[in-house]
């Protein structure tokens, strides 16, 4: 049932998400923080904003995006679990 295509797609998705995860936190929040701090975002300096706010928002979007894409992937490859309950997310 579970073929190589499913696993490859899974890995690709995880890798993509982790790249974004790294970029916003370690990239924007830490490595390039001084550079981004030159850019104002309202009363924030952009690098500081990424470190204390932005990265958290992106993390949140990432997890929901991953859950949604994995659900679609499960359906496409017919490995969706049979619902034990009628709950939908």
């Amino acid at each position: 049932m579970k073929d190589g295509g499913y696993w490859r797609a899974n890995l690709r998705l995880v890798a993509g998400c982790l790249a974004v995860w790294f970029l916003v936190s370690f990239g924007c929040g830490i490595l390039f923080v001084d550079l981004l701090n030159e850019i104002p975002l309202g009363g924030f300096r952009l690098g500081f904003w990424f470190a204390q706010q932005g990265s958290i928002y992106v993390f949140l979007v990432l997890i929901f995006f991953y859950a949604w894409r994995m659900g679609r992937l499960d359906r496409e490859h017919g490995v969706e679990e049979l619902a034990e309950e009628q709950e939908e997310d």
Binding site: V14, C17, L18, W21, S25, F26, G29, I30, L31, V33, N37, L41, G42, G43, F44, R45, F48, W49, A51, Q52, Q53, S55, I56, Y57, F59, L60, L62, I63, F64, Y66, A67, M70, G71, D74, E80, E81, A83, E84, E85, E87, D89
Partner: protein
């Protein structure tokens, strides 16, 4: 009704609620006890995970830590939330797929080894004990404040209550108790945060407030804060003092640590399906993020509040500092508990709060007749302190208050949230 009665009633009611839930959902068997029968809705699980994760450390200390660390405090914000991405993408769904009760059980089966399982158990116990040690200090502080007893007694009372409902309800009881706890916790945290944001900036949402302008001055809050702290010899709030490489690796360590915390990992065993485990991690982070994005706002405002309370006028002016005898009520209360202390080094009866570890500033401080920093703040409590001070002031703004004017209010004691 006087404050003490009210406090006991509110605290008593919330514990009655938790214990009531424990009775209502008491465990019926092994499955119920360990994984709540795998019937927890992902949203409820997310909420329970959030309450589980944001125990004493986040609730009491985080805003305070960030207030003092400024940008450096970001390591906790990114570290403790970024771990959830790793958890959601790399761990939770796979552990749930395996369908066991605990992580050591998973490791034992996966590696066909009892030894591996024993090693996992030992690791788990060490991690849990270390973690609980820190949390228990927080429990002790909170209960000692509520009940007016010393920290050890407070700790024992708190442990007793938790032990009671944990043993009775198992994972099932804990899950629903924690859902209730989350609601109580987030309400208690965000309501004062909203009000203090409104007071200081006129913006109700703390996440936006600390990027806004202060209500009367028109200058950006963070710019104002950077200005005043650097005037007192501290590093700028939005700049770090730690080197980039330190920040990088501390953040990384905190992220990986978060993803591996046993009491968080085990929560993902309680949902019905693998896809529920994935989405549940998202809900967990959503509920955590509500507090974690509020905390830096509170931290920045608290730092501004503390600094401008002590530094009432221009830096270096003879009457620029708060007169000790005119200190606000929250200052006195926290002095009594030893979490805030004042030593009048230059015997002028005023509080000089500045960075005396900064050699460049020391020369100027000496010119002003300052003989060292006179205010010591216990950082673990600074969030509580802020919570106490901020709910209780009305009409406070950084510069509209005449220097040294008394700001006492007899009702200040009823502001503990």
């Amino acid at each position: 009704m006087d404050l003490t009665t009210l406090t006991y009633m509110v605290v008593g009611a919330s514990f009655a609620l938790y214990i009531g839930i424990a009775f209502w959902s008491k465990a019926q068997g092994t499955g119920d006890f360990y994984v709540a029968g795998k019937h927890v809705h992902p949203v409820a699980n997310g909420m329970a995970t959030a309450a589980d994760w944001m125990s004493a450390a986040s609730f009491i200390s985080m805003a305070g830590l960030i207030a003092f660390l400024g940008y450096d405090g970001s390591v906790y914000l990114m570290g403790w939330t970024g771990g959830y991405v790793l958890l959601a993408l790399l761990l939770a769904p796979y552990l749930r797929k395996f369908g066991k009760y605990t992580v050591p059980e998973f490791i034992g089966e996966r590696y066909y080894s009892r030894t591996a399982r024993v090693v996992a158990v030992i690791c788990l116990i060490i991690i849990s004990f270390t973690y609980v040690a820190g949390q228990m200090r927080g429990v002790g502080i909170v209960f000692s404040r509520f009940l007016g007893v010393d920290i050890t007694t407070g700790l024992l009372v708190g442990m007793g209550i938790v032990f009671f409902y944990a043993v009775l309800g198992g994972m099932k009881g804990i899950t629903y108790t924690q859902v209730a706890q989350y609601c109580v916790l987030i309400f208690a945290y965000t309501v004062p945060a909203v009000f203090v944001s409104l007071q200081v900036t006129g913006v109700a949402i703390p996440q936006i407030a600390f990027g806004s302008t202060v209500a009367d001055g028109g200058a950006w809050l963070l710019t104002t804060l950077d200005g005043i702290v650097t005037d007192l010899g501290f590093p700028a709030y939005t700049d770090g003092t730690k080197s980039g490489i330190d920040v990088f690796f501390i953040t990384l360590a905190l992220m990986i640590g978060t993803a591996g915390l046993p009491h968080v990992v085990v929560r993902f065993f309680t949902v019905p399906r693998v896809r529920d485990a994935r989405i549940s991690a998202g809900y967990a982070l959503l509920f955590i993020a509500i507090l974690y994005t509020t905390a830096p706002g509170v931290g920045a405002i608290a730092r501004l509040n503390l600094t401008t309370t002590m530094q009432t006028g221009p830096v270096g002016a003879a009457d620029g500092n708060l007169v000790y005898e005119e200190r606000p009520q929250w200052f006195r209360t926290w002095e009594e508990t030893g979490l805030l202390s004042f030593t009048d080094h230059n015997a002028d009866g005023r509080i000089q709060y500045y960075n005396d570890a900064n050699p460049e500033f020391a020369a100027r401080a000496a010119e002003y007749g300052w003989k060292g920093n006179e205010l010591t703040v216990d950082r673990t409590s600074s969030s509580l302190r802020t919570r106490r001070s901020r709910g209780c002031r009305t009409g406070w703004s950084p510069s509209s208050r005449p220097a040294g004017s008394p700001r006492r209010s007899p009702r200040r004691r009823d502001c503990f949230s």
